[in-house]
Assembly symmetry: C2
Homo-oligomer: 317 residues x 2
């Protein structure tokens, strides 16, 4: 594959669509039909249903930013695909009737609407385990076992009670808090909201960037900078999500807007309004870009991470 270069003609759209093709090919390969057939059908339905592949792109982009003159995609594609499987699992479980009870996702029926609740539950569980299996089994032996182990461990942390699942629970705890007798508007403040976002969506986004860099041998300074960049990007991504729920329309979004308002969810827009949220996004963008530009390493010379934060903020779905 063509390495990314630092020339100014870098085209993010072309980059993203090129990379998405190889990500989809790999996912298809890792999720080849197996038995029990209905279980694999259910797993495939949710993983292979398109989507932005933002997390996989971030993993690839971080690897390419660290090694701009090498083709490192083979080293990180298993990890990028594992992340997409974990992400798909989280969507399947989130959509279940006992959780958000959603009928549609990306314009298609949700997993349990097609395969039933029991199968959706089990497909999610199986995807979590397949992610680990693929990450360990398919990552080339060129990656040292100790590095691969640390990546598997950080994926578990980003996904579990300290990360995504914990954020999901926090989110549930505060949903409706605005209107419940036991709380008032001040009850959910910026700190709480940031904590929910850092865990619920931020942890896996940060892991995507960190793991891509770690697998190709980034040094400690680079890893710390990219972790911070990932946190900023994750928060920007979530605030944009909150904004789109207010300003987007169903056709562009692929899901019903206005759900946060209807469910009394704690969101950035509810706390700071549309203008306040847009202002925060601008600050995050400039903070993110300054990390990339100031670190004096090769990270800053790769345009793709810069474009990714712009994309996270300016996307329409």
């Amino acid at each position: 594959m063509q390495p990314t270069t630092s020339n100014s003609a870098f085209n993010f759209k072309t980059y993203a669509s090129d990379r998405r093709v190889i990500i989809e090919e790999r996912l298809e390969q890792y999720l080849i039909h197996n038995e029990p057939q209905k279980l694999w059908d259910s797993m495939r339905y949710s993983v292979l249903s398109g989507g932005k592949r933002l997390r996989a792109l971030l993993c690839l982009a971080a690897a390419e930013a660290i090694k701009p003159n090498e083709d490192v995609s083979n080293l990180v594609l298993p990890c990028a695909c594992a992340i997409e499987m974990v992400h798909a699992m989280s969507l399947i479980h989130d959509d279940l009737p006992s959780m958000d009870n959603d009928d549609f996702r990306r314009g298609k029926l949700t997993n349990h609407k097609v395969f039933g609740e029991a199968m959706a539950l089990l497909a999610g569980d199986a995807l979590l385990m397949l992610a680990n299996e693929i990450l360990i089994d398919e990552t080339p032996a060129k990656v040292a076992p100790s590095i691969l182990l640390s990546v598997v461990k950080e994926l578990a942390i980003a996904t579990g009670a300290h990360g995504m699942v914990g954020g999901q629970v926090e989110d549930m705890n505060f949903t409706g808090a605005f209107d419940l007798g036991h709380a008032n508007k001040e009850f959910v403040d910026e700190n709480i909201l940031s904590s929910i976002h850092r865990r619920k969506t931020g942890a896996l986004i940060t892991f995507s960037i960190w793991s891509g860099a770690k697998l190709v041998g980034a040094d400690e300074k680079q890893l710390i900078d990219l972790k911070r960049f990932g946190e900023i990007l994750g928060l920007a991504f979530q605030i944009t999500d909150d904004l789109l729920d207010v300003t987007g329309d169903i056709n562009t979004l692929g899901k019903t807007p206005g759900k946060d308002e209807a469910s009394q969810k704690a969101t950035w827009v509810r706390l700071f309004g549309i203008d306040g949220s847009k202002q925060r996004l601008k600050e995050l963008e400039s903070e993110g870009l300054s990390i990339l530009e100031s670190n004096g390493t090769e990270i800053g010379s790769a345009p793709v991470l810069k474009e990714l934060i712009k994309y996270a903020i300016n996307r329409v779905n």
Copy 2:
């Protein structure tokens, strides 16, 4: 801790209760209260609710069988506890209304009855990830990263679509098959039933034994023998489960007997009757013992695995 020895005075009951104490202590330590509090309460509720700890015992026993003159418990306790977390997760998800819809487990209310469906679902997901984190983070550095990686990978395989979750789906597919128009009694034969059991319960039991041996440096021949022993033990354990559902009573079992019959589940007893099932157990016991006695390695000198297969067959709950 006192190493196991090969003297004939070996007392399995004392052994098992001694080991259970250190397993419970470790689980308590690994599941120390954290936040979000309700999530950890839910995780702790199911993991720390007692139980036989069969899988953790198997992991310890296999390690001790390979290294009978060393105290190897520290090397394998993180893995033993990780297995118990995975097992607890499978019970939480199995009990959910969309699955078996059980109100009681081990004489206590099931997780979702206490914490609600959403929390039970998320506690299961979090336990799966915590198992990986503990296994990687807490296994002593004396275990080579490449060995630890293979253990993490095999846990994913034993737990996911190829193992436990896949077996669960197969089981669902055949439950009620006796009475549905599309199938008849011959439809579920010994091969299908063995396949269900090998995956649904056998895979994690086999992994428990295999991982204990692998982590302390067993050789290939030992690992192959113990894998086969694990498969036999897993099947024996499941057939005993099927028998107890027919012959047991609620007080001894800690759960309602007769559920398999009521749900038209494909079981060994339905296929071969009580006598046929008991006969198969005897065959499995002698096959298991002959593996331990014939392999010419140190496995045969440790009494604990022999006692474990006797226990798996003669237990009353």
